[in-house]
């Protein structure tokens, strides 16, 4: 690991100032940054330790219900960016308001890592692509060294993206939490040199096409910091689940992860449906076409299967001319629709 300067600011403003400097990286739980720095995939010059900022800035470490907010009869839940995964997963309000979010946390990593890792850091975790993580062996990686090529393209890594990959990068976004947040229209509060702004979680992440480069995972500018996550209450969030498929029974990233929520009317008609995917694309994906197809009709095996297929259909609006063969991840196109369908059926009591 390359050596770095270390700073432990007392206030969020100081932290943002420090983070704006070239080569600076924020350190919260450390489970991504220290790991990647030791692998050589991150080479920070300055590590800005924000893990104790909540002492001075309580909102960064708080879980609070925001009164007067939220649409369909509930409150918006605000989760400070420095809340650990373990604390959030155990939070009774969150478990009630959005089981899928709590489950996405509880099924991630290990208890030790969830005690360390923060929600903000979790969102910003980077791809598990083994070529990205090993610069000594695989110098070509557009995410690490723009313009150097993609070592993973055509390789046997089955964790790669099956949807939305490009010839410049086939990395998949691995996080569970982000999918759950994307499904329920959560918003990240971002503070930076230009002030504070909100961004839907879905808008935080950039595909290589969005960003114009695989090197950039998110739309955060230097010096910007996630300070919190707002999760609006919804009936679909309250009736939601996170389904994580993987070979190992635990302590493994999702091969396919699906967050789903349903609001069913008294007659069983689907009033609202939410579906988001992880592990399959460069970013967590909201499956809006699949959601739309479920509305206004009762949930059936057939409807769930159709939604699954739609969730994994190539985006008609997307420039898939550039999309490389899904290669080692082709099976996800078979598996993924079934995971979506099962998650829906579970919610509908039909599984």
């Amino acid at each position: 690991m390359k050596n770095f300067d270390y700073i432990r600011p007392e206030t969020a403003a100081e932290a943002r100032d420090a983070a704006a400097r070239p080569g600076a990286r924020l350190l919260a739980g450390g489970t991504t940054l220290v790991d990647l720095a030791r692998a050589g995939a991150e080479t920070p010059d300055l590590v800005v330790d924000i893990s104790r900022l909540a002492a001075a800035e309580p909102r960064l470490g708080a879980i609070e219900a925001l009164e007067g907010e939220g649409g369909s009869g509930g409150e918006t839940l605000r989760l400070g960016a420095l809340v650990t995964m373990a604390r959030a997963e155990a939070d009774p309000t969150l478990r009630l308001a959005a089981p899928a979010v709590a489950q996405s946390l509880a099924l991630a990593a290990s208890p030790q890592i969830r005690n360390m890792a923060t929600l903000g850091g979790n969102l910003l975790q980077r791809t598990r692509c083994p070529y990205f993580r090993d610069p000594a062996a695989f110098p070509s990686c557009n995410k690490r060294a723009p313009g150097s090529g993609c070592s993973a393209l055509g390789g046997p890594w089955k964790g790669r993206a099956a949807l939305g990959a490009t010839a410049s990068c086939v990395a998949a976004y691995p996080g569970d939490l982000a999918a759950a947040l994307v499904a329920f229209d959560a918003v990240v509060e971002i503070a930076g040199p230009e002030g504070v702004r909100d961004l839907p979680v879905a808008g935080l992440f950039l595909t290589p096409l969005d960003a114009g480069s695989a090197a950039r995972d998110t739309g955060l500018a230097p010096g910007e910091m996630i300070e919190g996550i707002r999760l609006p209450a919804s009936a679909a969030a309250a009736r939601s689940t996170y389904l994580k498929i993987r070979d190992r029974a635990s302590y493994e990233f999702a091969t396919v992860g699906v967050a789903a929520g349903l609001d069913l009317g008294p007659d069983g008609t689907v009033r609202d449906a939410r579906i988001a995917l992880t592990g399959v694309a460069p970013v967590p994906l909201r499956a809006r076409a699949a959601e739309a197809a479920l509305l206004g009709a009762p949930l059936t095996e057939e409807a769930a299967a159709r939604a699954g297929r739609l969730a994994f259909a190539p985006d008609p609006a997307g420039p898939d001319s550039d999309a490389p063969d899904p290669g080692a991840a082709r099976f996800k196109l078979t598996l993924g629709p079934r995971v979506v369908a099962r998650a829906l059926l579970t919610l509908g009591g039909l599984a």
């Binding site: 598990r128 000594a136 498929i245 635990s250 599984a351």
Partner: protein, 776 residues
């Protein structure tokens, strides 16, 4: 029907035949005596030795699989804290070490690092610095460029893998398999593949090397202190006696810590050049390419049977991969030859050289991948015949060794089948696949059996009885979790008549009495044998002292004495007797110190050296009148979510005949541990090789999937063994490796029973289940 046939073979009680013994003697369930040190963190493993002036070495690896390398260490040399860089250009010439048979290596200079890449990830340079952090950073600054376009072979299963060469001396042939198969009623033919698997002991490899003049001390996790000391001594041209390897605890070996790997010469050389102790700790990623795991294998089996399911012929064509540098056969032939009574048999093996590190022994080499092919093929045959798979095995039960014709020393496999089937509930199994379902999960039951040969090597041991009345056992044998400390304490306690708590044991030091490799599941038998001999001799001396010393309170008390609980008494005395400490106090004797060995009479110093530093004295000998093996039967239940392809093992019952268990509590743990490694082999473990680069991309514990706690259900181990004094001096057979043998096929067969999907290449990952059609 078969249930009734097996009824007479049900053991009268489950658990060890020796259950109920006091803990402190052999066969008792004494808790690990190294337990307190291990649960408090006090047990110091080799790399935790902290000499003064320690510097740290980091390895640098070849970024390509073949071709000339240019190594530029200039930037590394200039990095903070760096005290040395080691590159192919400047590395001095050493001498080759002999191989494990004692055959000398190639003449001429030998260097552990060369200017040519033989595989990707090969250690080719190193950096030494004042701190670990500095060494690691500087290592990343070493620039290595490879030659463009150098050709290489990635792995056995690559479509363009070389054909390799036949290993004809290893052919096993009897009868005429070809003719028998041609005339058989039913023949099944299938090809089974196992991938490269890795040991992933949780303690990574490494060493601390320190010179004092021409004496070298190495703290290194070692399954074979004498054999590795020999290799180090030969490389550096110093007498064997001048090398001391210290390895009191090994953080998991599984076969991977028995060889002096080439890179270890880097640390030793640096320690010599710098005059400071050097610590080299491999990173986890480096453990995937600096030493070999289990070689990938391919087995094409044809098995023919008559209409009643009686086998008429088995033909096996197998291949395994090895490196460019050495021949390491992972041969499924022997295991295929030892299970069933078949009149015609042929097994041939090929070796395919690829650009990888030389593969090594990983728990049950040969036997484990061999059992996967054979036991899946038997399951396929059973289904083809619409026969119960266990019934098929019983129909072809080998009453004698099919290969040698010799009787078995003991073969309680039928008892294992009976006990395992009963406990599992096997006889309720519907014959047809896809018959059991719960919700969206298909449930399947599968079984398989396995064997592991009993081998032995002579050893020696020293036993001291101190004036405080405590005994000490000393041996260069090693502890890596098998329970060596514990069973040797039990052995000495029993032989002398002491409570086990009054015996301490020192292990894992080449200065202690010699021991052969802790491998091949041999150590427990040979070390208990040697310690029993030494401890009995010590007891005899103690008794002689008590009966003959003028100042002994027991002088002339009879011809012999009883010793129990550390007290000596005359036979039929019934009194309190005299404590050993009091005897020493009364007589003023300095304690007792005896050394005994189990080498043949008249052995020379050279015999002794070869016994402990080579594998040439290992085995049972062709003259043995019997064939001797441990046996196991596994019964597995899986739950398969067919939509997702995920397989979860929900039950495992393993019935084992490993002869006498010296400590059933520890032996059961080891069998379960082997079985759990088998779960990984079945469902999870595989070096995923990128054939464009020639290296596994999942060289870490997050992507090389060893089983987690959540992957492992309750496992029941049933001991059906009896003491087998033909197999070993004290009646034990082989415990360490038998547990893994047969688990993967039992699970694969259960997956077939659940789904009708026959998956013949391991591991059975979810995409294979998704993509494999049923009954194909």
């Amino acid at each position: 029907m078969t249930a009734e046939i097996l009824a007479p073979f049900l053991p009268r009680k489950h658990g060890s035949a020796d259950d109920g013994l006091p803990e402190g003697v052999l066969g008792g369930r004494l808790a690990r005596i190294d337990g307190p040190a291990k649960v408090t963190g006090a047990a110091a493993f080799s790399l935790e030795h902290r000499p003064e002036g320690l510097v740290y070495m980091a390895l640098v690896r070849a970024p390509v699989a073949a071709g000339a390398l240019t190594v530029d260490a200039e930037a590394a040399r200039a990095a903070p804290g760096v005290v040395a860089t080691l590159t192919p250009e400047t590395f001095p010439a050493l001498a080759s070490a002999s191989d494990w048979t004692g055959a000398p290596g190639p003449e001429g200079p030998w260097r552990p690092i060369g200017p040519e890449a033989r595989w990707m990830g090969q250690p080719v340079a190193a950096v030494v610095a004042e701190t670990w952090e500095e060494a690691a950073e500087a290592a990343a600054l070493v620039r290595i460029s490879g030659e463009d376009g150098a050709a290489f072979a990635s792995d056995l299963h690559a479509p363009d893998a070389p054909e390799g060469f036949a290993m004809e001396p290893a052919d096993i042939v009897w009868g005429d398999a070809e003719a028998a198969l041609a005339g058989a009623e039913t023949v099944i033919e299938a090809t089974y593949r196992t991938p490269r698997e890795h040991h992933v002991a949780i303690e990574p490899h490494g060493m601390i090397a320190q010179w004092d003049g021409d004496r070298l001390t190495i703290h290194e996790p070692s399954q074979w202190v004498d054999g590795m000391a020999r290799a180090h001594a030969e490389r550096f041209g110093i007498p064997f006696e001048n090398v001391r390897i210290v390895s009191p605890y090994i953080g998991g070996g599984f076969g991977s810590k028995a060889m002096a790997y080439a890179w270890s010469a880097l640390a030793i050389q640096a320690a010599r050049d710098l005059g400071r102790p050097v610590k080299l700790a491999l990173t986890r990623a480096q453990t995937f390419t600096a030493l070999g795991g289990r070689a990938a294998t391919r087995s094409t089996l044809r098995i023919g049977a008559d209409a009643e399911g009686k086998l008429v012929g088995i033909d096996l064509n197998s291949a395994s991969e090895t490196s460019l540098d050495a021949i390491w056969p992972e041969n499924p032939g022997p295991p295929a030859s030892e299970m069933y009574a078949v009149p015609n048999f042929r097994a041939r093996h090929r070796l395919v050289q690829v650009n990888s590190v030389t593969p090594g022994a990983l728990r049950a080499p040969g036997e484990s991948p061999g059992a996967f092919g054979l036991e899946c093929a038997m399951d396929e045959l059973a289904w083809a015949l619409r026969m119960d798979p266990l019934s098929l095995r019983l129909k072809n039960y080998a009453e004698t060794d099919p290969r040698s014709g010799k009787p078995w020393s003991t073969r309680r496999l039928r008892e294992a089948f009976a006990a395992g089937a009963e406990r599992f509930g096997w006889w309720d199994r519907p014959l047809a696949p896809r018959s059991m379902r719960e919700g969206r999960e298909l449930i399947g039951w599968g079984m398989a059996s396995g064997a592991f040969p009993v081998i032995n090597t002579p050893a020696e041991a020293r036993v001291r009885i101190g004036t405080d009345g405590r005994a000490e056992v000393l041996s260069g044998g090693t502890e890596m979790g098998q329970g060596t400390y514990t069973i040797l304490a039990q052995t000495a306690a029993e032989a002398i008549g002491l409570p086990a708590g009054a015996v301490s044991v020192r292990l894992g030091d080449s200065e202690l009495p010699g021991a052969p490799v802790s491998g091949g599941s041999q150590l427990a038998n040979l070390m208990t044998g040697a310690v029993m001999k030494a401890a009995r001799a010590a007891r005899d001396e103690l008794v002689a002292l008590a009966l003959t010393h003028p100042a002994s309170p027991l002088r002339d008390a009879g011809n012999d004495l009883e010793i129990s609980g550390g007290r000596l008494r005359a036979p039929r005395d019934g009194g309190e007797g005299v404590s050993i400490a009091d005897l020493f106090a009364a007589t003023g004797a300095p304690g007792i110190d005896v050394m005994r060995d189990t080498l043949p009479e008249g052995s020379t110093a050279q015999d002794r050296f070869e016994t402990f530093t080579t594998v040439t004295r290992m085995g049972r000998g062709a003259n043995s009148p019997t064939a001797s093996m441990s046996w196991i039967a596994h019964f597995a239940e899986v739950r398969v979510d067919e939509d997702f392809g995920t397989v979860r093992l929900s039950r495992l019952v393993s019935a084992v005949d490993a002869g006498r268990l010296y400590n059933p509590r520890l032996a059961e743990s080891q069998v379960k541990g082997g079985a759990i490694m088998g779960i990984g082999m079945a469902l999870l473990e595989e070096g995923v090789i990128d054939r464009r680069f020639g290296r596994a991309i999942n060289d870490n514990l997050g992507d090389y999937l060893a089983p987690t706690q959540a992957d492992v259900p309750g496992i029941e181990v049933i001991d059906v063994g009896v003491p087998d004094y033909d197999a070993s001096a004290l009646g034990g057979k082989a415990v360490g490796e038998i547990g893994i043998v047969g688990v993967a096929p039992a699970i694969a067969n259960a997956v077939f029973h659940a789904t009708g999907k026959r998956i013949r290449d391991l591991p059975i990952t979810l995409e294979k289940v998704l993509e494999t059609p049923a009954f194909a």
